[in-house]
């Protein structure tokens, strides 16, 4: 009898230990769907009066006065020059006679919502900015700077042709894609710089709050309006520019534009915005 009791106790202990290990493994496993639900729930519960699609309007979804200024500014949008330039560039053939449209599905029209994507041939995340420069290089042209000017103009036009289309980022069941997603998530939540801030410190923990005169945007939908005209910059900027300046603002040395970490965090954030409409190009204070 004592032996049977002892055996039962041993089995129970082993069972508890195995359960603990299983839970620990589950906590460490990569589960984009569960992350997506938790992320969406967090923002919709915290801001119950903000319509879901309005999150793509960033600080304007958080602050009524700022929203009034923005709607007035949109009568003569400050990104219009870039948009016109991008449209012209997009239609102008390279020296070899081909165009940007030849590099993309649907001739590059209305496809912004599908970027970034995971390329299973190269095993890496491909952003729209990266795809545009690869298109140029494949056609014998020099790549553009990733942060502003020509790249901002091209992405502005491509975003404009995709306005209203819903983010549709795929994370294939491929360990490399899941690793890229997880790396992006890690980058997003990692504190850096002398100020010891993460992306999440501002855009998850503090959306709607002020940093000096700026209203912090929610992370949900935060890339939908890119590229943007920022008054602070006095011009247009791409997603690359936004990441670089975020790092600098917390006194961290930025990575090179389109560094793997930046592409992965764009992948993570865009996936979190699945189902939300593209609204770019946009304007921000």
């Amino acid at each position: 009898m004592f032996g049977a009791k002892m055996l039962r106790a041993v089995f129970a202990t082993v069972g508890v230990l195995l359960l603990g290990l299983a839970q620990s493994a589950a906590a460490d496993s990569v589960n984009p769907q569960a992350d997506f639900k938790a992320f969406r729930d967090y923002f919709t519960k915290r801001f119950p009066n903000v319509p879901l699609n309005d999150f793509v309007n960033g600080p304007y979804s958080m602050d009524a006065d700022l929203r009034k200024q923005w709607t007035a500014i949109e009568d003569f949008p400050p990104y219009q020059f870039a948009l016109d330039k991008g449209q012209e560039m997009f239609a102008t053939p390279f020296k070899n006679g081909k165009t940007y449209g030849d590099c993309f599905a649907n001739k590059g029209i209305g496809i912004r919502q599908n970027y970034p994507y995971f390329d299973d041939k190269t095993g890496e995340v491909v952003t729209l900015e990266l795809a545009l420069n690869r298109c140029r290089q494949a056609n014998g042209e020099e790549p553009f700077s990733y942060v502003k000017d020509d790249m901002a103009a091209l992405t502005a036009y491509m975003a404009f042709t995709s306005r209203g289309k819903l983010f549709d980022i795929k994370i294939p069941n491929d360990p490399r894609a899941l690793a890229a997603y997880e790396n992006g998530k890690k980058y997003f939540y990692t504190r850096r710089g002398q100020l010891n801030f993460s992306c999440a410190s501002c855009h998850v923990q503090s959306p709607g709050e002020h940093i000096r005169t700026e209203v912090l945007a929610p992370a949900l939908g935060i890339l939908a309006a890119m590229p943007i005209y920022r008054s602070e910059w006095g011009g247009m900027g791409t997603i690359s520019r936004r990441f670089v300046t975020c790092n600098s603002q917390v006194r961290g040395v930025p990575l090179e534009p389109q560094d793997e970490n930046y592409r992965d965090v764009e992948y993570y954030l865009s996936y979190m915005s699945n189902g939300l409409p593209i609204s770019g190009p946009g304007s921000r204070p």
């Binding site: 992350d35 998530k185 939540y189 504190r191 002398q194 040395v253």
Partner: protein
């Protein structure tokens, strides 16, 4: 220890590393002292670079150290180099701490 207490300890540690410049810098400094301090700072900054976690303030302190040395102000040069080393080491500590600590901030 609570998360808040851990963070406070980390921030206090950073502040201490940043501002507590060793007493050696206050003594008369030579070019050799500067070269030694600069080598230590640059080695630490290289390690921070390998972790992709350098701080802009480290680069500023290194630049200030080199500028002071170029003007033969070795006391300032050594002080700035030591400041740079302290900042670089703090950025390394941050990267190592965040290697796992980032998970605590994830929305669940």
């Amino acid at each position: 220890m609570t998360k808040g207490a851990k963070m406070r300890r980390f921030v206090v540690g950073l502040a201490a590393l940043t501002f507590l410049v060793p007493a050696a810098a206050r003594a008369a400094s030579t070019e050799a002292d500067f070269k030694s301090a600069l080598a230590a700072a640059e080695a630490a900054e290289k390690d921070a670079g390998a972790l992709k976690n350098q701080w802009t303030t480290t680069a500023q302190a290194l630049a200030a150290a080199k500028k002071a040395a170029a003007g033969s102000d070795f006391a300032t040069a050594v002080k700035q180099a030591q400041q740079a080393e302290a900042l670089a080491k703090a950025s390394i500590a941050q990267a190592k701490e965040q290697e796992t600590a980032w998970k605590e901030a994830v929305v669940h």
